[in-house]
Amino acid sequence: MYLKSSYEIRDKYLRKDMLPTIFCPGCGIGAVLQYTLRAIDDLGLNQDEVVWVSGIGCSSRVPGYVNFDGLHTTHGRALAFATGIKMANPDLKVIAFMGDGDAAAIGGNHLIHAIRRNLDITVILINNFTYGMTGGQVAPTTPKGLRGTTAPYGSFENPFDIAELAVAAGANYVARWSVFNYLQGINSIKKALQKEGFTLVEFLSPCPISFGRRNKLKTAPELIKWYQKLSVPISKAKEMSPEELKGKVIIGEFIDRDRPSLVKEYEAYKKRAKKAMRWEE
């Protein structure tokens, strides 16, 4: 595979007047953004027909940096806004760029219901285990025992497994990688973008400043090592006992299926309505 230089990608897709980004050094969002843009580039998607939607948080600032139509909305509600965009104009491809707090804490309900409806959308979910923008509070994804400013003695709650939840709610495609799995990441995004229905690619992404600093994971190398220890490929996980899997995060493709999408179902619905009214045979 020929990889374009990151300069080429940047020049083609980023809004220059918005740079530099607000992301801290060592933050993983930039990398995932690059994977997403590469996937778009590889697929040759029309820049004019892709809309980026986001909520509130560091990851949600991304639509500001990319030169596409973008809707930066309220906290947790990105997928509800996206439902309107997609259903009002199904020709648009909609990408939601979200953080874990945004998607799975305050926005958890919109997430599971958008999945249930099988809304045609690709969610790129940055999971950095914390609320980075507000200063590192505990998140529903924070691994047990790790610290946040609102869990100064270590989180005592059980964390969410977002990917597993997405599968249970009925998504068409779900994959999870760490930001260091860049080829798998790009391929998963490409797959997701080509599918109808709800697709989600979750990235374990470092936040050295708000999360790492409090948990002795200050530098990128420390984080890489931690992710390597933390993550288990799905194939391997299948052979492991629940005891062995405790505290681990499984990475890989969780589901790849083709249930009919909301846009398709609604098209059929309109036909059905007209038939019921005898407007059409």
Binding site: R15, D17, M18, Q47, D48, E49, V51, V53, R61, P63, G64, N67, F68, D69, G70, L71, H72, T73, T74, R77, A80, F81, A82, T83, G84, I85, K86, M87, A88, N89, D91, L92, N109, H110, H113, Y266, Y269, K270, R272, A273, K274, M277, W279
Partner: protein, 387 residues
């Protein structure tokens, strides 16, 4: 174009139904909602009509999601609407602020019921007036219309869409359970008879670069909708004219918010609407709105019969508020009565408008039943006797 209900004809329908039909005629092609009494009938009618006119009607997981979807659809280019009642209206406050900040045209119908909290779900009230104006956080402005009859519910829905599109702002149609559920004769014009306004789109690429700039000098920027290659960025953060977030520069914030507020304030003449009944020689004026204005109208007629020079000012637009109009009236009358189905909300604004030129008295009522004309008349007569 084929319509799933009679047009250019009279029908006998509920207020809720009238709102749904008028929305379809106004060009609304996206509806998102969530069940709530007494607004569900709007949603149910939309569910029947929308797929037939190739529009979308979708039920979201809550009211927060409903208004969010409506804003998204508006940026995708569709005229959009949602409807709710008290509890749902409260939930929508955050995203209503987002729509104001991003200058997103949409219509939000609040079929008021008796609150606070769950209150009396099936009974009417006018208790959300101040909330409609002040419910979301921060300095802001928007437009609030209020109908008193089913025909007005119909006409004002069309007007609401026109104002929303013209001024790129959310418009609230503040109706109530009584108007929503009553059936009345309604004339639905043929679409050819209607004057519909569509949002101003950017005339060229240069204009599209300033989705939040006053480029025409009328305070209303053209709206570059999604999917046309404009690559517009929309955010609820304080933003500059290009839409870029500028969260620490106070001048940019001041400029943006002042324009959003002035856009409504400076066009007050165009937006404000009211009906004056027997006002010319009135010594006593009742100011009222919505369903109870009809009781007040009846009361005025009865008082006139008794030789009391009463008049009625029925407000059709509650915000922007014409304080000067109230002052002009106050200058030439002896007393103003405010009749409303709450414990005093419009009253505060009337009092401020009257500017001490005439005493203002409140005739409130809560509990779900509208004022009877008798209640109004007796209160006024009582005062005449003693005052």
């Amino acid at each position: 174009m084929r319509y799933p209900f009679p047009v250019g004809a009279v029908d006998f329908i509920q207020g809720d139904e009238a709102i749904a039909r008028a929305a379809i005629l106004a060009g609304c092609r996206f509806y998102a909602g969530y069940p709530i009494t007494p607004a569900s009938e709007i949603f149910e009618a939309m569910s029947i009509y929308m797929p037939l006119v190739d529009g979308v009607s979708i039920q979201m997981e809550d009211e927060i999601g409903s208004i969010a979807a409506v804003i998204g659809a508006s940026w995708a280019g569709a005229k959009s609407m949602t409807a709710t009642s008290g509890p749902g209206f409260s939930l929508m406050m955050e995203n209503l602020g987002y729509a104001i900040m991003t200058e997103t045209p949409l219509v939000l119908v609040n079929v008021q019921r008796s609150g606070p909290s769950t209150g009396q779900p099936t009974l009417a009230a006018q208790g959300d007036l101040m909330q409609a104006i002040w419910g979301t956080h921060g300095d802001h402005s928007l437009i609030v219309l209020t109908p008193a009859t089913v025909q007005e519910a119909f006409d004002m829905t069309i007007k609401a869409f026109n104002l929303a599109e013209k001024y790129r702002t959310p418009v609230i149609l503040l109706t109530d359970a009584e108007v929503g559920h009553m059936r009345e004769r309604v004339y639905a014009p043929h679409p050819d008879e209607l004057e519909l306004i569509y949002r101003k789109l950017p005339a060229n690429e240069e204009e599209a670069n300033y989705p939040f700039g006053d480029i025409h000098g009328d305070l209303v920027p053209p709206m570059p909708v999604f999917g046309k290659g404009h690559h517009t960025y929309v955010t609820g953060l304080t933003h500059d004219e290009k839409g870029r977030p500028k969260t620490v520069q106070s001048e940019i914030h001041e400029k943006l918010i002042k324009r959003i507020v002035e856009k409504i304030e400076k066009n007050k003449k165009d937006i404000v609407d009211y009906e004056a009944y027997e006002l010319e020689d009135a010594e006593i004026v009742i100011i009222s709105f919505g369903i109870v204005a009809r009781s007040a109208m009846r009361a005025v007629k009865e008082l006139r019969k008794k030789g009391i020079k009463a008049g009625l000012l029925k407000l059709n637009v509650l915000w922007p508020f014409d304080f000067e109009l109230i002052e002009r009236i106050a200058e030439r009358v002896e007393k103003i009565y405010v009749v409303e189905m709450n414990l005093g909300q419009l009253y505060h604004m009337v009092k401020e408008g009257a500017n001490g030129k005439a005493p203002v008295e409140l005739i409130p009522k809560i509990g779900g039943e509208i004022h009877t004309p008798k209640e109004i008349i007796e209160r006024i007569k009582d005062n005449l006797r003693w005052g």
